[in-house]
């Protein structure tokens, strides 16, 4: 997967976004996830069932009513769309390593994929592959600009 001059191609397999409360935005940067996963993961290695995977981190204070977690799969277009909440208070207070919290949220998203019963797609292998990306020493810093 190529990243030319630090610019990701428009058409790719893995997309990452976030629903982030403005107060905490300065403490958030998901871009290393975008680059690392685009560089290391090829969804077709795990089967034909998933062509595109959209994932959103939700970082909203407690009591949020609009931006809620979800998980959808479009069998016709072979697209999955998952959003997982990251504990806002813990992230803000940095009670746990923030990157670790984000990694766990992303892996939780893959767990939710498993519940969608996507045909012809090895979710376990995908999960394992992503876990290996996150296990690499200094992976996040490598992709920070």
């Amino acid at each position: 997967m190529t990243i030319a001059n630090g610019i990701l191609p428009q058409d790719r397999q893995i997309y990452i976004s976030g629903r982030i409360w403005h107060d905490i935005l300065p403490k958030v940067d998901f871009s290393p996830f975008l680059y690392a996963l685009h560089d290391s993961i090829n969804l077709s290695d795990f089967g034909k069932g998933l062509q595109r995977y959209y994932f959103s981190f939700i970082l909203m204070p407690e009591g949020e009513q609009i931006n809620l977690p979800y998980a959808h799969y479009d069998a016709e277009r072979r697209i999955a769309d998952v959003a997982v909440s990251v504990p806002y208070g813990d992230y803000e207070e940095k009670t746990t390593n923030r990157i670790l919290m984000l990694e766990n949220a992303y892996l939780q998203g893959i767990d939710r994929l498993a519940a969608l019963n996507i045909p012809e797609f090895d979710v376990k292998a995908f999960y394992q592959n992503v876990k290996e990306v996150f296990a690499a020493e200094g992976w996040y810093g490598k992709w920070l600009d």
């Binding site: 630090g6 610019i7 990701l8 428009q10 997309y15 990452i16 976004s17 976030g18 629903r19 982030i20 409360w21 403005h22 935005l25 958030v28 940067d29 998901f30 871009s31 975008l34 680059y35 595109r52 959209y54 994932f55 959103s56 909203m60 009513q65 609009i66 931006n67 809620l68 979800y70 959808h72 479009d74 697209i79 769309d81 600009d145």
Partner: protein, 194 residues
């Protein structure tokens, strides 16, 4: 047996078919009729279904009588109203911010450019959404990819619309907009001032 009228044009075409294929009119009529009869049955079935549907709607009342005999909205209608009022009261004004350096669609570029380069963290668009509108953004697509959805203000719908409008108008005064060589009247992702 119902015989449907045939236009002159159709009759001419059929006559030509008879001449070229050696098929007589009686045989053609026999072939045509079953299809017309089938079409009639389908239409009758559809009509019956529509009529039954209307009958069903008219029997489920939208108003009821309470224990004192006063007219009230049905519980279902009340619940729907409460839900929709709640959605109007729970709105948010948001910004769509570039998650990475890259090219994004530009709807406000006055030099005719269709894309603009944004740095990570720069504003692409301001908008307003209400509770229950999450479906507006399927597959993480907010109108472009690689954007963060950043709620900036929460309140009722009118207050959020005002906030959005203020931010759209004041966009040219943002440091990121002032640094650009091309002046934008509003964020690149906003097609209009509202």
């Amino acid at each position: 047996m119902v015989k449907l009228p045939i236009s002159d044009k159709t009759r001419n075409i059929q006559s030509q078919a008879i001449e070229s294929n050696g098929v007589d009119e009686a045989t053609l009529e026999k072939k045509r009729t079953p299809y017309h009869f089938l079409l009639l049955i389908v239409c009758a079935a559809l009509g019956a279904g529509l009529w039954m549907g209307q009958e069903e709607d008219s029997t489920s009342s939208i108003i009821v009588l309470d224990q004192d005999g006063n007219v009230e909205l049905s519980p279902e209608r009340k619940a729907k109203l409460a839900r929709e009022l709640d959605e109007i009261d729970n709105a948010e004004q948001y910004a769509l911010i570039a998650a990475v350096n890259g090219h994004f669609p530009c709807f406000s570029c006055m030099d005719g450019s269709t894309t603009i380069f944004l740095k990570k963290g720069e504003v692409w668009k301001y908008g307003v959404t209400r509770k229950g509108e999450q479906i507006r953004y399927p597959a993480g697509n907010f109108g472009a990819m690689d954007l963060y959805y950043v709620p900036q203000f929460k309140g009722d719908y009118a207050a959020c619309l005002k906030e959005e409008k203020r931010k759209i108008y004041y966009y040219p005064t943002l440091p990121e907009a002032l640094m650009r060589s091309v002046e934008l009247i509003r964020p690149p992702g906003n097609k209009t001032d509202s």
